[in-house]
Amino acid sequence: MIETLLSLTVNGVLIGGLYALAALGLTIVLGVMRVINVSHGAFYMLGAYFTFLFSIMLGFNYLTSFILSAALVFAIGVVYERLLIKPIRKEELNVLILTFAAAFVIEEIVKFAFGPRYRNIPPYLSGTVNIPGGSVDVQRVLSFAIAIAIVALLFAVLRFTKIGKAMRMVAEDEEVAGILGINVEKVQMFSFGFGAMLAASAAALLSPIYLLYPSMGWDPLLKAFAIVIFGGMGSIPGTVLTGIIFGVAEVLTGYYISPTWKTVVPFILLILIISVKPTGLFGEEE
């Protein structure tokens, strides 16, 4: 009994780390640009499809495919920000509408390019590790480790590098950052690409676990919203912790309640938290 719970929890944490990664991309864009990016799920979907393109269709190994796909989505994010977000960034309503529609445009393009049917990427590593009460795929452990490494790298970039400091400054106060000689527009462009890349990385790591289809991005998008709001908008530790909580909650619901309901539960939680405490579990009261 307890051992089953333990094993489920471990599996939940492993998935949750990847959710946290996807949600972090949303948090960064929100923090640095004050923009809610409804296209975030589309970048996630692109990450998965590019991994499929490079590894299955072009025959690269998994790691190369992962890096190529993350880099490609970064570039797409940068262009997207320049062309679509920059002209209207201050108009919140328009940004929401535009990023919502642009996500469909990207989805349709992928549908035409790759076809509407389900695709799958075989596991890049086989084998399992036995833990009390069950077992864990080695691949999931490695994916989790990569996700944690990316999060750690992100912390380091934000803390120690010039661009990271600039990002934090812009997040703090755009105007002051501009006066201090920071190229605000460039920092925002970079941050947007970076956010898209995090979504793509999470998707690349999850792609051997989940099926690929053109509309696969909406579910992680809403999950990322839920995680970001629960974690208190813009808080990075809050986002990571909530991501992991969500992973565990989902696995437990899937096991103890029903696998079809586990997809619904995060959104019910989201609506509850928004109605009760919109600043999130870890957010401060305004």
């Binding site: 929401l96 509408i97 919502f100 349709e108 029903s258 609506i271 919109p278």
Partner: protein, 323 residues
């Protein structure tokens, strides 16, 4: 001054004339073109006109972005279908219950949204419609029938021509009601909320009451469209709660002009006829609808209704404006 007044009168007359010409044309179409297919397309257009106008009364007037409008349409359609086929309710009762369910949903979504602003509202409406989609497509498939849908819904009238006139009347009445409200004092207050909610509150306006009213109107008319759809199509599938349907409310409204009621109605009418009428376009519908949104947000956020003024403004500041 005088010239401006005169031109506004002729403009009003021209609008009335256009409405009159449309009404005459719309009422003789079934006699002139006895094509079941064309009538079917027009009936769908009438339904989506109500759907688009009902989105606009909330988002266009109060600025509260609803990204999941299909939830009202879909919940009502499913409720009509399920109560009618599985519980054997008389159709009229099913329709009442269906619209009532949309009304209840507008309260459930609307009340928590009242104290929320900006992105929270968009995310909440989005999540609600997504939950409904997940329930209909997987978690509650025993009730919704999934892709198969709920079949065998009864209909008020049989045949294309009676359904055409019924939908026409329903559309005209619905749009008229929404248009009258939008152009009354209430509409003005809703627009004031959109411009600056704090300022509206400072003027002593109970913004909560008006926002909830807009939510209810939006939900109920969205539900009316869904209920009519269910009895006309006689089958309700997952299509009625998709994100694509929610997005199309935005496309219709943006192309016509958000915050005008008539603009979204015209947008829905034209686009539905275009895309349902030319079936080879169907594959590209979602792509084109959303490209339209992107293009209009970037280049013509006021929609086609604003084109007149835009052209006027670009022709130079001379003429009427140089008083």
């Amino acid at each position: 001054m005088m010239a401006g007044k005169l031109s506004s009168i002729t403009f009003l007359n021209r609008k009335l004339l256009a409405v009159l010409v449309y009404l005459i044309a719309a009422s003789i179409i079934p006699l002139a073109v006895p094509s079941i297919y064309i009538l079917h397309v027009l009936i769908l257009a009438h339904i989506f006109v109500i759907y688009a106008a009902s989105w606009d009364i909330l988002t266009g007037y109060t600025g509260q972005l609803n990204l999941g409008h299909a939830m009202f349409f879909g919940l009502s359609a499913y409720t009509v279908a399920i109560t009618n086929t599985m519980l054997n309710f008389p159709l009229i009762l099913s329709v009442v219950v269906g619209v009532f369910s949309a009304f209840l949903l507008s309260l459930i979504v609307g009340i928590p949204c009242l104290r929320l602003r900006g992105p929270y509202l968009a995310i909440t409406t989005f999540s609600f419609s997504w939950i409904l989609f997940l329930l209909a497509s997987s978690a509650m498939i025993w009730l919704s029938g999934g892709e198969e849908g709920v079949r065998g819904v009864r209909t008020f009238v049989v045949g294309s021509v009676p359904n055409y006139y019924l939908s026409l009347v329903l559309m005209i009445v619905s749009v008229l009601i929404l248009y009258r409200i939008a152009n009354s004092e209430t509409g003005l207050i809703l627009k004031a909320i959109k411009e600056d909610e704090d300022a509206a509150m400072a003027c002593g306006i109970n913004t909560t009451k008006y926002k909830l009213l807009a939510f209810i109107l939006s939900g109920v008319f969205g539900g009316i469209a869904g209920a009519f759809y269910a009895q006309y199509m006689r089958i309700v599938t997952v299509d009625v709660v998709t994100l694509e349907l929610s997005a199309s409310a935005i496309t219709f409204s943006l192309i016509g002009g958000i915050g005008t009621v008539i603009g979204p109605a015209i947008g829905a009418y034209i686009l539905t006829i275009l895309f349902e009428g030319f079936s080879w376009l169907a594959d590209y519908r979602i792509l084109i609808y959303n490209l339209i949104i992107v293009a209009f947000v970037l280049f013509l956020p006021g929609g086609l209704m604003s084109l007149r003024e835009k052209i006027k403004a670009e022709r130079g500041t001379g003429g009427e404006e140089g008083e």
